[in-house]
Symmetry: C2
Subunit: 222 residues, 2 copies
DNA sequence: CCAATATGTAATCATCGATTACATTTGGCG
DNA sequence: CGCCAAATGTAATCGATGATTACATATTGG
């Protein structure tokens, strides 16, 4: 019988109807949301995300989560959805500072923001990367946030091509190469490759910058 | 009492001493090896690799594997070691066909062989990529095979620089960018990204080729 | 030959995902 | 208001897994 935090034996009377912040009216306020947050936090702590531990943190029985998620993957899909949303928000925020007229600068900023978020939220990045939760949860939100980011770089490259800045006319190829580069870099960090490459923790972000600049120099018309 | 294949009640007498291929002399011939192979096969089948299932396939009790591997991660580390060895062998075989005098052609061939192996052995590639088993098993072999591959591209780029073929003098940056590119591409495939990019199964290898060529054109002196 | 060691077995634990039967709360409808 | 159905939570339980322990058997070297 492990860890039961909140005793909650008292207060068996009902309390108002549907207030948001109140003293846990026996029926949980919004368990679904709380479970997603708990799972996000678990991941951020580097722990395994288990349904039971999320339930424990929500001070709820082990079976309760299954009222809101048909199985673990469904919970993880919801977690992925939230993480993907945050990811997109941060990328778009980073792009707000860059002049719309300079598509390659925007492309660069996108790549940097991408890698930075991945480095600072490794567990969340892994969850949205795995693709496992695209299949199972099939959330429209998740797919949408993701394709928005794809469309973003697509527009940048189209604009760059229109301005005659690119060496190659095969934009899709350039786009996928760019994505593979930043995804690969982010995953190398996530998967612990950099120690083997003699890249110290503190140098990784600078290295990301260098690598992205190298790539952009390579695709830009000389 | 699930699935017990080999009856083996007979033959209770000892049989020669240390022959390799014989009729299972009660004490398993080389359980360690058999467990690694079973785990490799499980992974290749797309199944979860569990210690128990490996034991089942070796027709051995659930506790037996722990005589050879202190825990599941130790088994996985051994699996990673074997997969990494095969990976290295295949890459080096692919390079045997390319003239030593053309470092960029070799660099290209390396990248292609890298992505191809990853595509054809996705589960094994994932195991050697995760980096989780570098830490736990800390096998010298694994580390060695890996750094051999790193050294390989390092030499190629040094040679290319010596021949004046490269735009950038920062070879480490070029090397890491190239690795991030192929690793990212391989993982995009592994993680199921390409359907979202409208790249059909059959087009992926060609796309890999295009992406690698694009990268090499970018780093080569015009 | 025999005893120390290596290797395998049986039994057992704790944890986890998942399901089922039951309890309680909530909200809508007469 | 009062009651009933739906929503939501609990308790108990299942089967699978990683792991440990006590015990059994085979191998091998002195």
């Amino acid at each position: 019988m492990p860890t039961r935090r909140t005793p909650k034996p008292q207060t068996s009377k009902p309390r108002g109807r549907r207030q948001t912040s109140e003293a846990r009216p026996y029926h949980h306020g919004d368990l679904r949301r709380v479970l997603i947050d708990a799972a996000l936090q678990l991941a951020a702590e580097g722990a395994e995300v288990s349904v039971r531990e999320a339930a424990r943190r929500a001070a709820v029985s082990p079976g309760a989560p299954f009222r809101h998620f048909s199985n673990r993957d469904a919970l993880m899909a919801a977690v992925a959805e939230e993480a993907q949303r945050r990811f997109r928000v941060e990328i778009e925020a980073a792009l707000a500072d860059v002049p719309p007229a300079d598509p390659l600068a925007r492309f660069r900023a996108f790549g940097l923001a991408y890698v930075r978020w991945a480095m600072r939220n490794p567990a969340h990045f892994e969850i949205i990367s795995t693709g496992r939760y695209f299949a199972h949860g099939s959330s429209a939100e998740l797919t949408h946030d993701n394709s928005e980011l794809v469309a973003l770089t697509e527009r940048m490259l189209a604009e760059a091509a229109a301005q005659g800045l690119l060496r190659s006319a095969d934009l899709k190829r350039v786009q996928i190469a760019g994505r593979a580069l930043v995804y690969g870099f982010a995953r190398m960090n996530l998967d612990g490759h950099f120690p083997r490459w003699d890249v110290a923790e503190g140098e990784i972000e600078r290295m990301a910058e260098g690598v992205i600049d190298l790539f952009i120099a390579g695709i830009a018309k000389p």
